[in-house]
Point group: C2
Chain length 345, copies 2
Amino acid sequence: MSLQNDLILRAAKGEKVERTPVWLMRQAGRILKEYRDVREKLSGFKELVETPELAAEVTIQPVDILGVDAAIIFSDILVIPEAMGLTYQMLENKGPWFEKTIKSQADIDQLIIPNPYEKLAYTLDAIKITKKELNGRVPVIGFAGAPWTIFSYMIEGSGSKTFSKAKKMLYTEPAMSHVLLDKITQSTILYLKAQVASGADMVQVFDSWAGILSPAQYQEFSLKYISQICDAIPEVPVTVFAKGAFFAREEMGKLKCNTIGLDWNMDIAESRKLIGANKTLQGNLDPCALYGSFAEIKKQTNVMLDQFKGSRHIANLGHGLYPDTNPDAVRCFIESVKEYKSVLA
Amino acid sequence: MSLQNDLILRAAKGEKVERTPVWLMRQAGRILKEYRDVREKLSGFKELVETPELAAEVTIQPVDILGVDAAIIFSDILVIPEAMGLTYQMLENKGPWFEKTIKSQADIDQLIIPNPYEKLAYTLDAIKITKKELNGRVPVIGFAGAPWTIFSYMIEGSGSKTFSKAKKMLYTEPAMSHVLLDKITQSTILYLKAQVASGADMVQVFDSWAGILSPAQYQEFSLKYISQICDAIPEVPVTVFAKGAFFAREEMGKLKCNTIGLDWNMDIAESRKLIGANKTLQGNLDPCALYGSFAEIKKQTNVMLDQFKGSRHIANLGHGLYPDTNPDAVRCFIESVKEYKSVLA
C-alpha cells in the first residue's frame, strides 16, 4: 500500500520534502481525552499495551486529532525485559517496577532471547492493525529501548535518580555486563526486525538513560550495542534518540542510522557540526515550551525551525510530551511547523 | 591564623602547587560511621544543620578520617528558602519537602531577604567553630545553591524528574520569575558574604538543576544571577558547579569566578577548550567509579589526572559522593591523587 504522506520517510532519508514533517514523542497518551477514555475502561497500562485493537486505536488517535505526520505504535520499551523473563508492573504515578532484578550471572543465564512472534505478538499485531486502519495516511514508527537503558531497568528494578546500581555493575562486573547487554541487543534486533516485517515504516531506538554514563562508558556499554542494532536493520530508516548523550554526538554521526534525535539541551548548530550533514536531526523543542501562550509557542517553534533551516530535519520535542500539556498547545506546535513552509515559499 | 595547607586556595587562584589538592562533594555525610553516630542521636538532618557544634564536628570528620585538603561546611542549600520564609522538611529516603510553595506574585511578596546574622546564624557559628577547631589545618569552603536551583525547589516543593512546574513558570511568567530570582540572589549574596566574614576561605555555588534548562533559558534565568553572585564576592575564590550545564561552558568561562566544577559527563579536554586557561577546573571522577576495586579506582583516578595535567585543577568527583560508598574506596581515591605528584616528579 502506498503512503499518501511519506514526508517523514523522505526527510529521514535526506530526500526533498515540501515542508518539515512533525510528530511528538508520547503523542499517544494522557494528554488526549480520547486516550483517557480508552484507558479508564482497562485494568491498567499493560492491558492497553497487550490488547492489539486498543493499542492500535490509541496509536491512531493523534493522527486524527492532532494531525501529526506519523503514528508511533503504542507500547513500552519494557516489553523486552518482560519477554526475556522479567515481569514488570506499571505503578500509577510511580512508574515501572520489576519484582525480580538481575544480580548475578545465574540471573542472566535464566533470561531468554525471545521469539518476538511468540512473546511479543501483541505489539506486532497492533502494528498490523494500525497499518490496516491508517490505510496509508501516514507511516508507522516502531521502537525499542536501547540496550543500556533496558540493562539499567533490569538491574535497578525501577527508575532511579542516579542509576548507581546499574553503573556499579559496569565498574565491578564489566564482562558480565557485556554478556547481559549482548543478550538484550540480540533480543532487540529480533524484535525490531519483526516490527518491520509487521509493517513498521521506520524504527526509533530510545536511550533514555544515556546521560548518566561518562563518555568512555557510553562508548563501551551503550553505543557499541546501538551500533549493532543500526547495522542489523537496513530495511527501514532508523532513528537514535540518546537523551543527554551530548558528549557522544560526534560518534553518533558515524552510526548506520538515518536520524539522530536531539534533546532540548543540545544546541542545534553545534549538534549539526558534530553529527555532520549526512544525518537527519529530530527535535528539539523543550516540552515545557508548550506551557506557554500560543503566541509564545509559535515563536519558540519558529526559532527552532530557523536554526534547522536548510538541513535535514524532522520536527519534534526534545523529550516526550508531558501528560499535563494542553492538546491545543500541541496543535499550535504542529500547525506552526506546517505553516512554516509558507514562510519559506 | 595562617593555613598549614592552602593547596586548594592556591590551585583556585592559579598559583603554583606541589600537588593537586583533593576534596569530595558530600564528603561529610553518611559514608562515615562517625557521621552516622552523630546523626542517629538527633531528631533528623535539620537538627544537625542547625546545631553549630555538631555541624562543625561532622564538617571536620573527613579532614581527620579521609585526609582531604579542605573542609566544606555541613549544611544544605535549602536553608536559604527557609530563611526567606518557606520551611522545609527533610524526609528520610525521600528528600526535601516544602509545605508551602510559590505560586503567585503575592507569595513572592511575602518572602523576606533575610539578615543572615539573624536567620542563618547557625551556619555562620558552625563556620566559626570549624575554623577554630581546624586551627589552620585546611581551608573551609562555604556554599549556597544557585538561584535557579533554589527557585526550582520553591516552585516544585520537592525534587522532580522534569521540574516542569518550575520551567512552566519561566515560560508563562518570565517577569515574575525574574523578581523571585532576584530576591533569591540578593539573599544568597548576603549569606555568602556573611559566610566569608565568619571565616569561609572559599565558597561554592551549586546549580544542581542547571541541566534541565535549554541553553537560552539557562543564560537568562540562571547564569545571569550566578554572575551577580560572582561579582559580589571578590574576597575569596568562588567555585561554580552547574551540574549538566555542558552547553554553557563557554559562557561560564567569562564569569568572575576562579573555579568551574565539571560533572563526569563533561570531557576534560573539551571543557578546558571551552572554558579557557584562566579558570581552575574542579572534578570530575564518576562517583560510581568508587564502587570499583582499588586497582580500578587508582587507574580511573590516574586517567582523570592525566587529562587535567599541566593545567589548573582541583581533584573531586563529578557529583556528590553516593551514601553507600565504602570509605576505604574514598581513601583510595584521595591517596591516588596525593601519590600522583611523585609520578610527575
